[in-house]
């Protein structure tokens, strides 16, 4: 194992552990903070995988905006500081289905790739990605921008207190 592998393994462990806390903790805001940790670790993995641009996008959009929005909403809906009792449905179906999905996929991928090593590819710098987006992906890019605008307008309309019912 090279140092990159060790880093990937460590970050992956952190991500999975934090992700587990996200779905298992009974404290609302702690779940959000663990999500920050999980997403940060995933950003670190992107960095090790040489997807530089995506790593910073992950930090800027996910950690800086999405999680903050989530925490914001948690606080606006009066989350208690301590543990809350009624966050989960009882029963074992959810962990079973989730575990089966996760472990099954993992087994599939392990079977597909085994322990093959791959040479690191050319890094995904902003320049390279920009070229890719504006050469091969212009139409999807425009569609995404329209969708973002629609989402923005939709969010404003839905959350306006005096809006139409």
């Amino acid at each position: 194992m090279t140092s990159a592998d060790w880093l990937l393994a460590a970050l992956g462990t952190v991500a999975v552990a934090a992700g587990h806390r996200v779905v298992a903790t009974d404290r609302l805001v702690r779940a959000g903070l663990h999500l920050v940790l999980c997403l940060g670790a995933v950003a670190g993995m992107y960095l090790v995988l040489t997807a530089e641009f995506l790593a910073w996008v992950q930090v800027l959009i996910y950690v800086g905006a999405v999680v903050v929005l989530l925490l914001f909403a948690v606080m606006l809906t009066r989350a208690p500081v301590g543990a809350a009792a009624d966050l989960d449905r009882p029963g074992w179906t959810a962990p079973l289905v989730g575990g089966a999905a996760g472990l099954g996929l993992a087994a599939l991928l392990v079977d597909a790739y085994r322990w093959t090593a791959v040479a690191p590819a050319a890094p995904g710098t902003p320049e390279a990605l920009g070229a890719a987006v504006f050469r091969s992906w212009v139409l999807p890019f425009e569609v995404v921008s329209v969708l973002l605008l629609a989402a923005l307008v939709g969010a404003i309309v839905v959350s306006r207190p005096g809006g139409r019912r």
Binding site: V36, W56, L60, A65, V67, V68, M75, P126
Partner: protein, 319 residues
């Protein structure tokens, strides 16, 4: 770059991280006092109270470390560190002089700096929520709304410069900078500076800690060293914002003469000049109201930044 050299660079950044905020803090003490017709600290250290902040530090270290009973302990304890870390990391990519005078030259330096600065809001929410105090929570919610809102004009105005320079690398932007950009990028400069002031929650944008309304906002329950760390974060924030403004808009190491040998001096001088402006604005302006804050962001800064972006794009494609 060898490992030893990297270590030396990081160590130098840490030194700057610990000394520059003290200089700015002391300057704030004295400048603010004189702007209000006072003298400011005069005794600590003998000559014009130069050691006042060290004395403050000693005092903070002696204070009892209080954690409210209802608080979420680990989160409460972790928040100051999370507040400090982004600024330390950002300092790594800020070029001090031409050539190799930057701790970690990064291809996407500007993008990196903006992304990491965005993490600071998490510490604010952590501190606000973990204090189990309604004033803290109110301050935290205000702060989160403010930081999320002002992130947009900040990024847009920085994007304008990056577009003009044709690169995201901070040394690259300084290298491409020309004096006439001062005129052409002036709206972006003003937007960036204002938004950055709001990002570091300095007056007139200090609603999250507005002491006359919210006791002390998200810092209400903090005492002793943890409070000192938050204060340090505020002053490091000034340094970082001043350095980013310098590098993006004021030409970084470019001075009237001897850019190659005295570049670091020009950078530092500009950083201190911008820090002075930050302090000056604090003395001269009253705090905005919460709705005025959001209106300023969405109705003034964002349109101006978008207009600047269009202008920059037009000029760049034309030339």
């Amino acid at each position: 770059m060898s490992l030893a050299e990297l270590g030396l660079r990081v160590a130098l950044v840490v030194v700057a991280f610990l000394t520059l905020p003290l200089v700015v803090g002391q300057a704030e003490h004295k400048v603010m006092a004189h702007m209000q017709g006072r003298l400011g600290p005069m005794y600590a250290g003998g000559f014009h109270g130069w050691a006042q902040l060290l004395a403050d530090g000693v005092k903070f270290a002696q204070k009892e470390d209080l954690i409210p009973r209802g608080a979420d302990g680990p989160v409460f304890r972790l928040a100051p560190a999370v507040a400090l870390l982004p600024y330390l990391v950002v300092l790594l990519v800020i070029p001090l002089g031409p050539g190799d005078l930057v701790a970690q030259p990064l291809d996407a330096g500007l993008f990196f700096a903006l992304a990491v600065l965005g993490v600071g809001v998490v510490s604010l929410l952590m501190a606000a929520w973990a204090s189990a105090n309604k004033y803290s929570l109110l301050g935290g919610l205000r702060g989160a709304a403010q930081l999320l809102g002002y992130e947009l004009p900040l990024v847009l105005s920085a994007a304008s410069v990056a577009m003009a320079a044709g690169t995201l690398s901070l040394p690259g932007i300084v290298a491409a900078w020309r004096p006439w950009w001062l005129l052409w990028q002036l709206p972006a400069l003003l937007v960036f500076f204002t938004a950055a002031l709001a990002e570091i929650r300095r007056p007139p944008f200090d609603m999250p800690i507005a002491d006359s309304e919210l006791v002390f906002g998200y810092l209400t329950e903090y005492t002793g060293l943890r409070f000192a760390l938050f204060l340090l974060a505020e002053y490091v924030g000034i340094v970082v914002v001043a350095a980013l403004t310098t590098v993006l808009f004021l030409g970084g190491w470019k001075g009237p003469f001897a850019d190659a040998s005295l570049g670091w001096l020009w950078t530092l001088l500009k950083v201190f000049a911008v820090s002075f402006a930050v302090i000056w604005l604090r003395v001269a302006t009253p705090r905005l109201r919460e709705d005025q804050l959001q209106r300023l962001c969405w109705q003034a800064l964002v349109p101006v930044a978008l207009g600047q972006l269009v202008l920059t794009a037009a000029v760049v494609t034309a030339t």
